[in-house]
């Protein structure tokens, strides 16, 4: 391994500082836990308890999925759930009232959400 001298470190720090400041200044936000993402983005329709009874639910033409139902969620594959979250209901032949979150969440965050939902329904995805 190559030794890194103090001067190199200092120079590195200076060069690193520039993109770091640029990063902090951009609107790119840090990754969040699945539980927090679920609260902020999903609870408005799917509800505090995840049963599909959020504050917006009464005005929706289609009831939001009950994420705690092993029966309903067990019928969906993990890749289907991923696709529904990323691209919205329309992409999986469901209602457009389920919005696409791909512009909001990273693929990693969506994968974490899929796992989070599997914890909520205590069920596995259809194979």
């Amino acid at each position: 391994m190559r030794k890194i001298g103090f001067f190199n470190l200092m120079m590195g720090a200076v060069f690193m500082a520039v993109p770091l400041v640029a990063l902090l200044g951009s609107s790119d936000a840090a990754a969040e836990s699945a539980a927090d993402n679920y609260k902020l983005y999903c609870v408005q329709c799917h509800g505090t308890k995840g049963v599909g009874k959020g504050i917006n639910a009464p005005v929706l033409a289609v009831a939001p999925r009950n994420h705690t139902s092993a029966k309903d969620m067990g019928e969906l594959t993990d890749s289907g759930v991923f696709k529904a979250i990323k691209e919205g209901g329309v992409a999986v032949g469901k209602s457009t009232q389920m919005p696409p979150w791909g512009g909001v969440l990273t693929d990693d965050e969506i994968n974490d959400l899929v796992k989070h939902l599997r914890g909520m329904c205590k069920c596995e995805g259809k194979k």
Partner: protein, 221 residues
């Protein structure tokens, strides 16, 4: 030359800037910053969003129409049926979420103070926002509603006049008097430029669709 510039600068100051300077002092006096963020940047984490008491005002000059501001800060009305951060106002009724108590804006300025504060708020502009993007034209109401209600379901979260809608974010009632169309265009295109943790989905709209929607929204006075 320098002196000439200084003098003309002073003239401009006395003509328009004086009110804005008063406005800034009034914002301090009435403690608007106790609830509103008057300086950017916007918060970037969910934990910080949860602490938000009122909408950010540090880009008010890009966002609002001045006439609306003058009226609103004298006599504020409810704009967000579910509160500023809906998560903080949920009341459970069995397993159905309902909206509990929400806060209204505390501003109660006199007409004169409101003019001065509005002048100041209008100076708080985002230098990066493109202006003159929105092209006013004939409102294609049926076409716009087709896109916004049927195709994109904006009403899942936003209230439409007469039609109703969701409560987790601002109502579209009166939005045309309230907001600058160029800002609406920018916000719908990329909500996260303005608020990195806002609970609105980002959709990939082309210019024609954005114009159609903003045209319609601007007509909701």
């Amino acid at each position: 030359m320098k002196r000439l510039l200084a003098i003309s600068g002073l003239l401009v100051f006395f003509a328009g800037g004086a009110l804005a300077a008063d406005g800034k002092a009034l914002v301090g006096k009435f403690k608007c910053a106790d609830c509103h963020k008057m300086q950017g940047p916007a918060v970037k984490t969910i934990a910080d969003v949860m602490k938000r008491k009122a909408p950010d005002l540090f880009y008010a000059g890009s966002k609002f129409n001045r006439d609306w501001l003058v009226k609103y800060i004298q006599n504020p009305t409810k704009l967000r049926p579910g509160g500023v951060v809906y998560l903080n106002h949920i009341k459970l009724d069995g397993d159905q979420d309902t909206v509990g108590k929400v806060l209204k804006c505390a501003s109660k300025l006199s007409a004169g103070d409101a003019e001065a504060v509005a002048d100041y708020l209008m100076t708080l502009k985002d230098p990066d926002m493109k202006t003159g993007v929105f092209k006013p034209g004939k409102v294609k109401k049926a076409r716009a509603k087709m896109v916004m209600l049927k195709k994109e379901a904006c009403n899942a979260c936003h209230m439409f006049p007469k039609k109703g809608g969701g409560v987790s974010c601002p109502t579209f009632e009166g939005i045309g008097s309230r907001l600058n169309p160029d800002w609406m265009y920018s916000f719908i295109k990329n909500p996260r430029k303005w608020d990195p943790k806002i609970w609105m989905a980002v959709r990939d709209f082309d210019d024609a669709t954005l114009q159609l929607m903003v045209n319609y929204l601007s007509s909701l006075k």
